[in-house]
C-alpha cells in the first residue's frame, strides 16, 4: 500500500486540528487578521489535503465504465408529443376568442404593474440643463474660502463650488489662473484677470477632471486638464476643447466676473448641460 499518502493524510489532519486551535487562540488574543486567518486556512486546507491523500492512499483511480443513455426523442415519444398538441388544439383551441382574451388579459395584468416601476425615480424635468450656478454666485473652495480675483498663483488647479452649494455634484468647477495673453479670444471673454473656470465633470463618462499639468519641456509649454479615469485631456487655454483621449466634447466654461469685494463670481450658469449627455442633449 501507498504508505506515503497515508502519512500525508495523517499529517494533514493533524495540521488541520492544530489550525483550528490556532484560529481560536488568535481570536481570543485579538490577533484577528493573520493568526485567525492562517489558522483557519491551515484547518481548511489540512482537511482538503487530508481527504485527497486519503483517496490517493486507497488508490481509487478506478476505471468504471458506464453506458450513456440515448438522449434523443424516439419516434414513439415524437408521436405522443404530436398527440398532446392535437388534443390541446381540439380542447383549448376550440374557442379562439378565449385564447386571445386570456393572452391579452395576462399582458394587461403585466402592464398594470408598470406604473409602480415609475415610482422608483422622478421624471426628468430639465434638472440636467441647469446647475446651482446663478449670476453673481460667489466661487468658494470646498472649505468655503472665496477666491480673490485680483491676485493668485498661476498654473494651479482649484476646485470650487457656488457659495451655499458646496459638494453639489453638477456644480463642481475647476478654476485655473494663467497668463491672460495666452487665452484664446472667446475663452478670454469669459475670464477675469487670467482666471478661467470650467465644469469639472468630464464630458466623456462623468469623472472629475482632477488633474492639471504643465509640460515645460521645449519647444512649447503645454497646459492640460486631464481626467484621471480614462485619460481624456482638455486645453484650458482654448475653451477646454478635447485634445486627447475619449472625450468628444469640450468642458462647458463658466463665465466669470468680480463682485464689489473683489472676489470671483459667476455671471451666468453654463450655457449647455455639463458632463456626459443624453441622446437628445446634442
Amino acid at each position: 500500500m501507498n504508505t506515503g499518502a497515508y502519512r500525508a493524510a495523517v499529517a494533514s489532519f493533524v495540521v488541520a486540528i492544530a489550525g483550528g486551535l490556532v484560529a481560536a487562540v488568535g481570536y481570543a488574543t485579538d490577533h484577528t487578521e493573520k493568526m485567525l486567518g492562517l489558522g483557519l486556512a491551515a484547518a481548511a486546507a489540512g482537511i482538503g489535503i487530508g481527504l485527497v491523500s486519503w483517496a490517493r492512499y486507497l488508490d481509487l483511480s478506478e476505471h468504471v465504465v458506464q453506458e450513456r443513455e440515448v438522449l434523443a426523442v424516439t419516434p414513439e415519444q415524437h408521436r405522443e408529443i404530436d398527440e398532446e398538441a392535437d388534443l390541446t388544439r381540439q380542447t383549448l383551441g376550440r374557442r379562439p376568442l378565449l385564447v386571445w382574451l386570456s393572452g391579452i388579459s395576462f399582458a394587461s395584468l403585466l402592464a398594470g404593474f408598470v406604473g409602480p416601476i415609475g415610482s422608483l425615480g422622478p421624471k426628468p424635468r430639465g434638472e440636467r440643463a441647469r446647475t446651482s450656478w446663478r449670476p453673481g454666485s460667489r466661487l468658494v473652495t470646498p472649505d468655503g474660502q472665496p477666491i480673490d480675483g485680483k491676485a493668485g498663483p498661476n498654473d494651479q488647479l482649484v476646485t470650487v463650488f457656488p457659495l451655499g452649494h458646496v459638494g453639489v455634484d453638477d456644480s463642481q468647477v475647476v478654476l485655473v489662473r494663467v497668463d491672460p495673453d495666452l487665452l484664446a479670444p472667446e475663452t478670454a471673454s469669459k475670464s477675469v484677470n487670467g482666471w478661467v473656470a470650467y465644469s469639472k465633470i468630464c464630458t466623456h463618462a462623468g469623472c472629475s477632471v482632477g488633474l492639471f499639468g504643465v509640460d515645460n519641456r521645449p519647444p512649447d509649454v503645454i497646459r492640460q486638464l486631464v481626467c484621471p479615469c480614462h485619460q481624456s485631456a482638455f486645453d484650458p487655454l482654448d475653451g477646454a476643447r478635447p485634445v486627447g483621449g475619449p472625450a468628444p466634447r469640450s468642458l462647458p466654461q463658466l463665465p466669470l466676473g468680480l463682485d464689489d469685494q473683489g472676489f470671483l463670481v459667476s455671471t451666468a450658469d453654463f450655457d449647455r448641460p455639463v458632463g456626459p449627455i443624453a441622446w437628445n442633449e446634442a
Binding site: G37, L51, I117
Partner: protein, 483 residues
C-alpha cells in the same frame, strides 16, 4: 436481525421508507465521472461560490445599505470627523471594529476574484475542447448566463462600500446608461432615484447583490449541474472511451473524496489570501466625494476589459437628426454586447461555420481543431488587449512612455491583434497536430468506418497500450442519438 447496522444506514432507510427512491441513491453513488485536471475549474467556481455565500451572509449582519450622511467616529484615525455615507461607515466598522470582520471581508472579496476567474477558465476549457457542442449547447447558454450573473454580482458588491473608487465606477455606469438612445435619461432617474448621484442607488444595489443575483445564480446552478448529471460528463478520447460510454471514477468514494478535498483546499487558499493580502482597502480611497477622483483607478479585474474599451474607443459621436449617439454607446454597450452576444451564440455560430450538427460526447484536443481554437484565441486576444487598455495609464507610467502612444498602440492592437492571433494559433495547431504526443503515442492515419457505412481516414491518437477501439473523430457526427 442478527447483524448490527450503523446509524447512517438506519437513518437513510428511515427516510427512503417514507419517500421512496431507494434505487436512485445507489445509482447516484455509483455514477461515473471522468477525470482530467481541466475538469476541475467548474468545481473551483462552485466551491468559491459556496464560500461567497457563507462569508457574504456574515457581512450582511454588519453592512448598512444607505447613503445617509453621517460623521465618521470609528477607530480609524485618519477619517475621524469626515462626513461619510452610512454604507461606507458600516464597511469601516466591520473592517476595524468588528473582531475578525476584516478577515471575512477580505475572504469575500478574494473569493469573488477567484470565482469569476474560475468561471473564465472553465468557459475556456469548455470552448477549446468542444464541450459546447450538441447536446451541451443548452448548458452552454446556462453557463454564459451564470458568467453574466457573476459579473453582475461582482460589480454590485464592489459598489456597496460607497468609497471613492467604486463611486467613480457608478458614476461611469450612470453615464453609460444615460447615453442609451430614447430611454437613457429616464432609466438613470429610475435606477438612481433622480439626477446623479441620486440618493437611492446604494440601498438598491444591496438587495440586488444579496438576494436577486445569488438567488438567480443558485437556481441556474441547479439547472447547470442537473444538466451535467443528466447528460453525463464529456471525456477525452482514449482506450475504451467511446461516444456511448463514460469511463472514470465512481462518485462514491473516489470522486467525492477528491472533490470535497478540493473544496476544503479552495476554502483554505482563499482564507490564506484574505489573511495575508490586503484587498480593496476602501479606507485608503476615502468616501465617495463628488469632486474627487484618483489616478491609477482600476476596477476589479473582470471589469477591466470594459474599462479598457471605454478608454481606448476614439472620441466619436454620431449626430443624426439633431440627436447624438455618444461614444459610450459603442464602447460601453456595443462592445460588451458583441463580446457576450458572441459567447451566447457560440454553439450556433460554430454550427453555421463548421456544418457540424452532430451529437458529441468525446472532446477534441485544441490542436486537432485549428479553426475553432484559432477563433477562441482571437477572441481572447481582443478581450486581452481591452484588458490592457484598462491599465494604459499604469503601463505608460511604468514604461515612462506618453499615454497617447500607449493608447494608439493598444488601439492598433485591438484591431490587428485578433487576426494575427488567429493565424499564429492556426499554424501552431497545425504543426502541433503533426507531431507525436508527449506520452510517446503516435499520430497515425486510421481508417474509420462511420455510421453511414462509409470509410474515410481520421487523425486520432492511438496509444501504445492496446486501444480497445478507435474513437470516432470529433469533427464528424457519429450518427448516434442524432436525427
Amino acid at each position: 436481525m442478527t447483524e448490527r447496522r450503523g446509524a447512517v444506514q438506519r437513518y437513510v432507510e428511515h427516510v427512503l421508507g417514507r419517500v421512496g427512491g431507494g434505487s436512485a441513491v445507489g445509482k447516484a453513488l455509483r455514477k461515473v465521472f471522468p477525470t482530467h485536471f481541466s475538469f476541475l475549474w467548474g468545481e473551483l467556481a462552485l466551491y468559491s461560490f459556496l464560500l461567497l455565500l457563507i462569508t457574504g451572509t456574515y457581512l450582511t449582519f454588519f453592512y448598512e445599505g444607505s447613503q445617509t450622511e453621517i460623521v465618521y467616529a470609528g477607530s480609524y484615525d485618519p477619517l475621524r470627523g469626515v462626513r461619510v455615507s452610512a454604507a461606507y461607515d458600516s464597511v469601516l466598522r466591520l473592517s476595524f471594529d468588528v473582531k475578525g470582520g476584516l478577515l471575512i471581508r477580505q475572504m469575500h472579496h478574494w473569493a469573488a476574484l477567484v470565482f469569476v476567474g474560475a468561471i473564465a477558465l472553465h468557459l475556456a476549457r469548455i470552448f477549446f475542447t468542444g464541450a459546447f457542442r450538441r447536446p451541451r449547447d443548452i448548458n452552454w447558454v446556462v453557463g454564459v448566463t451564470l458568467l453574466l450573473l457573476s459579473l453582475a454580482a461582482g460589480f454590485t458588491g464592489y459598489s456597496l462600500p460607497d468609497d471613492l473608487l467604486s463611486g467613480t465606477g457608478l458614476r461611469i455606469t450612470n453615464a453609460i446608461i444615460l447615453a442609451i438612445p430614447f430611454v437613457g435619461e429616464r432609466l438613470t432617474y429610475l435606477l438612481f432615484g433622480g439626477e446623479w448621484p441620486g440618493g437611492d442607488i446604494i440601498g438598491r444595489l444591496y438587495p440586488v447583490h444579496i438576494l436577486f443575483i445569488p438567488a438567480a445564480i443558485v437556481g441556474l446552478l441547479g439547472v447547470h449541474l442537473g444538466l451535467v448529471w443528466r447528460q453525463k460528463h464529456t471525456q477525452f478520447p482514449g482506450p475504451g472511451r467511446t461516444e456511448r460510454n463514460v469511463v472514470g471514477e465512481a462518485v462514491w468514494p473516489a470522486f467525492a473524496l477528491k472533490s470535497v478535498g478540493l473544496m476544503f483546499v479552495v476554502i483554505g487558499v482563499i482564507t490564506a489570501l484574505g489573511a495575508l493580502f490586503e484587498v480593496n482597502a476602501v479606507w485608503l480611497y476615502g468616501p465617495y466625494d463628488a469632486a474627487g477622483a484618483t489616478s491609477y483607478s482600476q476596477p476589479d479585474w473582470y471589469i477591466g476589459f470594459l474599462e479598457g474599451s471605454v478608454r481606448l474607443f476614439p472620441p466619436w459621436e454620431t449626430r443624426v437628426f439633431g440627436f447624438v449617439i455618444n461614444n459610450l454607446v459603442y464602447s460601453g454597450i456595443a462592445v460588451t454586447g458583441v463580446v457576450f452576444g458572441g459567447l451566447l451564440l457560440t454553439p450556433w455560430i460554430d454550427r453555421r461555420l463548421t456544418g457540424d450538427h452532430g451529437v458529441h460526447h468525446l472532446l477534441y484536443r485544441p490542436r486537432d481543431e485549428p479553426g475553432r481554437t484559432a477563433s477562441g484565441a482571437a477572441a481572447i486576444a481582443f478581450v486581452g488587449v481591452l484588458f490592457l487598455g484598462g491599465a494604459q495609464d499604469i503601463i505608460a507610467g511604468t514604461l515612462d512612455v506618453p499615454i497617447r502612444t500607449v493608447t494608439h498602440l493598444l488601439q492598433a492592437a485591438a484591431l490587428l491583434g485578433p487576426p494575427a492571433t488567429w493565424f499564429a494559433t492556426y499554424r501552431i495547431c497545425r504543426s502541433l497536430a503533426a507531431r507525436p504526443g508527449a506520452d510517446g503515442s503516435e499520430r497515425t492515419e486510421t481508417i474509420v468506418r462511420d455510421a453511414g457505412g462509409g470509410y474515410r481516414t481520421a487523425a486520432i491518437t492511438v496509444t501504445t497500450i492496446g486501444a480497445a477501439e478507435p474513437a470516432p473523430p470529433a469533427d464528424e457526427p457519429d450518427g448516434e442519438g442524432g436525427p
